[in-house]
């Protein structure tokens, strides 16, 4: 019935079919990763963050001095209304206590990262735990947890953080971290729960149930992983907010009380503002650093969100 098809034509068809279909085994994440790498926004954001990370991790190697040491050559020239600028060995000059400002800026990356990461991670962890509980168990647990987050969400984040700091009898670096973290708990919890609930109704979870997959496995293998993307995006954006909130708390005099700690928010909110007229760099440098890092995280978060958005797939 059909006329013969020559071998080389047949091969050609197979070739063409092979060419038009994708190479196998590309997971969604890899796919998103590829799209991320093609996105200039992501590259800018990523580069900023990478730089920041490198500086933070290798601070002791990069920094010329110990960030909390007071140097006689600086203190000698230091008075309450004049702070020495750049001198030999101190490229950015002194801070208000005769410490090396450049080193403090560099170590600041580390400390700021520490605050941002911990505040985000703690908030994420608790939030994810609560959200997962609510989303997985549902019923009154869900009801109770959600009313709780309602209460927390009813307060503006910074106000909640202020209150928490004020209510903490002792203020330490951790007070700030925890306060900023707790502010984020309801956001993460809501986010995760919402998407878990959506997952719960979804066909693929139903399919897993129909397979007789154990409930725990359904939650851990299907509901959580698929819900986490939203949380990851939020977490990236939260870094920026956490750093800004910490700075705001410092400005209000409620931040980390240990001014030996070189943290950009602290440096800006305390020294930067107080000695603005004496030496504006004390404010400009940390502020710029904060803006840059916050920008980096925001750019990265937004582009991850974009990359993960199924609308943009292919």
């Amino acid at each position: 019935m059909t006329r013969a098809l020559s071998d080389h034509k047949r091969r050609r068809i197979d070739e063409l079919i092979a060419r038009t279909s994708e190479p196998g085994g590309v997971s969604l994440l890899r796919d998103a990763g590829r799209r991320l790498l093609r996105n200039p926004t992501a590259i800018v954001g990523g580069t900023i963050i990478l730089l920041f990370l490198v500086i933070a991790i290798f601070a002791p190697l990069v920094a010329p001095h110990d960030p909390i040491q007071r140097f006689p050559e600086l203190t000698q020239k230091l008075t309450v209304d004049s702070i020495p600028g750049a001198t030999a060995g101190h490229p950015l000059g002194s801070d208000p206590l005769g410490r090396d400002f450049a080193s403090r800026m560099i170590f600041g990356a580390r400390q700021t990262l520490f605050v941002g990461v911990l505040a985000t991670l703690i908030g994420l962890l608790i939030g994810v735990l609560l959200g997962a509980l609510a989303g997985a168990i549902g019923g009154w647990v869900d009801n109770l947890l959600m009313r709780l987050t309602d209460v927390m969400l009813a307060l503006p984040s910074l106000l909640l953080a202020i209150t928490l700091v004020a209510l903490a009898s002792r203020s330490t670096q951790w007070t700030v971290i925890i306060a900023v973290a707790i502010v984020n708990v309801p956001i993460f919890a809501r986010l995760l729960r919402g998407s878990m609930l959506a997952q719960r109704e979804s066909d693929h979870v139903l399919a897993a149930r129909a397979l007789g997959v154990k409930r725990r496995d359904i939650v851990l293998r299907h509901m959580l992983p698929n819900s986490l993307t939203a949380v990851i995006v939020q977490a990236t954006l939260t870094f920026a907010v956490a750093i800004l909130d910490a700075a705001a708390l410092s400005f209000l005099g409620l931040g980390d009380p240990d001014i030996n700690r070189a943290e950009w928010g602290l440096m800006l909110g305390v020294d930067g503002v107080r000695y603005f007229e004496v030496r504006p760099e004390l404010a400009y440098f940390p502020a710029l650093a904060i803006i840059l890092v916050a920008l980096g995280f925001t750019l990265l978060g937004e582009s991850i969100r974009e990359a993960l958005d199924p609308k943009n797939r292919r």
Binding site: R70, T75, L78, T79, V80, D81, S82, P96, L97, G98, A166, S169, R170, S171, T172, G253, L254, P257, D258, I259, N260, V270, V273, R274, Y275, F276, E277, V278
Partner: protein, 528 residues
């Protein structure tokens, strides 16, 4: 609106214009006896007078409402010769009866609520009617212009304490009319009377014009009938601006003519720009408290090591406000009993280390409490001061564990109530020129703050000095106390005397800074 913005500078010589002063905090109310803080006292001082007062710019006593005063030999009876023809703002006359009415009011104040708010009274007069500790006995109007106040015992605080703004003389008529004694508890705080809030009535150079809480402005009007130097301006506004930075900016913008407590860092810039920066003569003290509850700190050598370890000269240079000086004693040199020859602890790390090892206290770790969320006139930036001091101590081999506590949210409690600290920083601004007001307050009795309740030798010495009626003897006694404090007892290390400043625009004349931060504004004029 009738805009007064433009006559802020006071253009015409016919009218004295308006003087706008930026204060740093809200007053509580205007009933002198219920207040204990400088921001409340600032307006109160303008509206009221005390029996005795200070010569402008000094801590020396001079006649106030009383032209003269006398103390009998026992030291218990005080006779005040009152100024003639002085009238309260409500027109009622100031006479001996009115003075006694004030004393009796304080003594007989009813209710725990009200009593608990009479902090200075409690401190100076020991207690109220019925209390065995009460110092006050009675007040008699010998004649219209002679009031005789009798005490139950002699107290070194007098006559200095009569200058306290809290003991200003208020109009008995007004107090009665406006129910001054009702203090009611509501929730965690108290409500005060209409007298305290809306009708403060004294004899001062200014009368009360109103307190606009929405804008934070207290208006005071010139009292044309004032007995002393009448105010040069027609009106004075105390504008409350809490942020030191904003105060400075308002001064620059010309919207206020004077500000209190310019930030130490801004002094130079302001002076360079032509503003007048007025230093108050130092009348305060910042000290590093040592808690002898810690057995290691009971050893004098350790305490001395701490004193040697501190580079106070450098602290003063790098962080001290203009006019600050290293303190060797707990009282400024203008106060009676200041000794010229106390043991000084010059910065000497080696000496400190040596003393520590002698005492077997190497590797010492100390909890150093410091306040946050606060600035005090003697301590413009506790965190920085702590950091520098801690740094010095570390250099001498003492490990410091910094414990920050919010001023009202734990610091005062932990330090003064529970004594949790090993070291802490705190200070004091003098109320009147009396050594008892300094050393007596700190070391006159056992306090949790310094741990040791059994330094009886010190308590006795100070108690005895304080009870000495003869001024010369008292001076000698307190000089010895100061020498011993430095060499023998060392319950704390005095750090610095740091006078808080004022700044005004060029056209403000006649503002005399007071060591007690008790400026009177009737002498102020604003020229074009």
């Amino acid at each position: 609106a009738e805009s007064d913005r433009d006559n802020g500078g006071g253009e015409g010589s016919a009218s004295g214009g308006t003087f706008i002063f930026a204060g740093a905090g809200d007053p509580k109310n205007f009933d002198p006896i219920f207040n204990d803080d400088g921001e409340s006292f600032r307006p109160i001082r303008q509206m009221y007078d005390t029996l005795i007062t200070h010569k402008p710019g000094t801590a020396e006593l001079t006649g106030g409402l009383a032209e003269s005063w006398e103390n009998d030999a026992s030291g218990k009876v005080w006779t005040f010769k009152l100024r003639q023809g002085v009238k309260f703002h409500d027109g009622s006359p100031l006479d001996a009866a009115a003075v006694c009415a004030n004393f009796d009011r304080w003594f007989n104040m009813k209710g725990e609520a009200a009593q608990s708010q009479m902090i200075y009274y409690q401190d100076v007069f020991g207690g109220f009617a019925g209390s065995k500790d009460a110092v006050y006995d009675n007040c008699k109007a010998q004649d219209a212009s002679t009031a005789v106040v009798t005490m139950t015992r002699y107290k070194g605080a007098f006559p200095g304490a009569f200058t306290l703004t809290a003991f200003s003389i208020a109009s008995p008529t007004a107090m009665k009319q406006y129910d001054s004694d009702t203090v009611t508890q509501n929730g965690d705080s108290f409500s005060y009377s209409a007298f305290a809030n809306e009708h403060p009535t004294g004899t001062g150079a200014f009368t009360f014009g109103g307190w606009n809480k929405a804008t934070g402005e207290i208006t005071l009007n010139k009292n044309a009938d004032y007995w002393g130097d009448k105010a040069k301006v027609d009106k004075m506004i105390i504008k409350i601006i809490k942020d030191e930075n904003t105060r400075k900016q308002e001064l620059r913008a010309g919207t206020v003519q004077a500000i209190d407590y310019p930030a130490p860092a801004d002094r130079k810039a302001l002076a360079d720009e032509g503003y007048k920066v007025l230093d108050r003569p130092a009348f305060n003290i910042l000290y590093l408290g040592i808690n002898q509850k810690n057995p290691k700190l009971k050893d004098l050598r350790v305490r001395q090591a701490i004193a040697y370890a501190l580079n106070r000269a450098q602290l003063v240079q790098t962080k001290g406000p203009g006019g600050a000086a290293v303190a060797d004693e707990f009282l400024p040199n203008t106060v009676l009993g200041y000794a010229q020859d106390v043991q000084k602890y010059e910065y000497n790390v080696d000496k400190a280390k040596q003393l520590l090892s002698e005492a077997g206290a190497t590797g010492l770790t100390l909890n150093f409490y410091y306040p946050t969320e606060v600035t005090r006139p003697y301590m413009p930036n506790p965190q920085e001061i702590f950091t520098v001091l801690a740094n010095d101590l570390q250099a001498a081999g003492i490990k410091v564990n910094g414990v920050p506590r919010p001023w009202n949210g734990g610091f005062k409690d932990d330090v003064q109530q529970f004594g949790k600290q090993d070291l802490h920083i705190l200070g004091w601004t003098g109320d009147y020129n009396d050594p008892g007001n300094f050393v007596g307050t700190f070391f006159g009795r056992g306090k949790v703050e310094f741990g040791d309740q059994a330094m009886t030798e010190m308590f006795d010495a100070i108690g005895k000095a304080d009870a000495t009626v003869d001024q010369a003897a008292k001076k000698t006694a307190f000089e010895q106390v100061n020498r011993d404090l430095a060499a023998k007892w060392l319950p704390a290390v005095p750090i610095w005397h740091a006078p808080p400043a004022l700044a005004t625009t060029k056209n403000v004349e006649g503002l005399v800074p007071s060591p007690l931060t008790a400026e009177e504004f009737n002498t102020v004029s604003v020229t074009k």
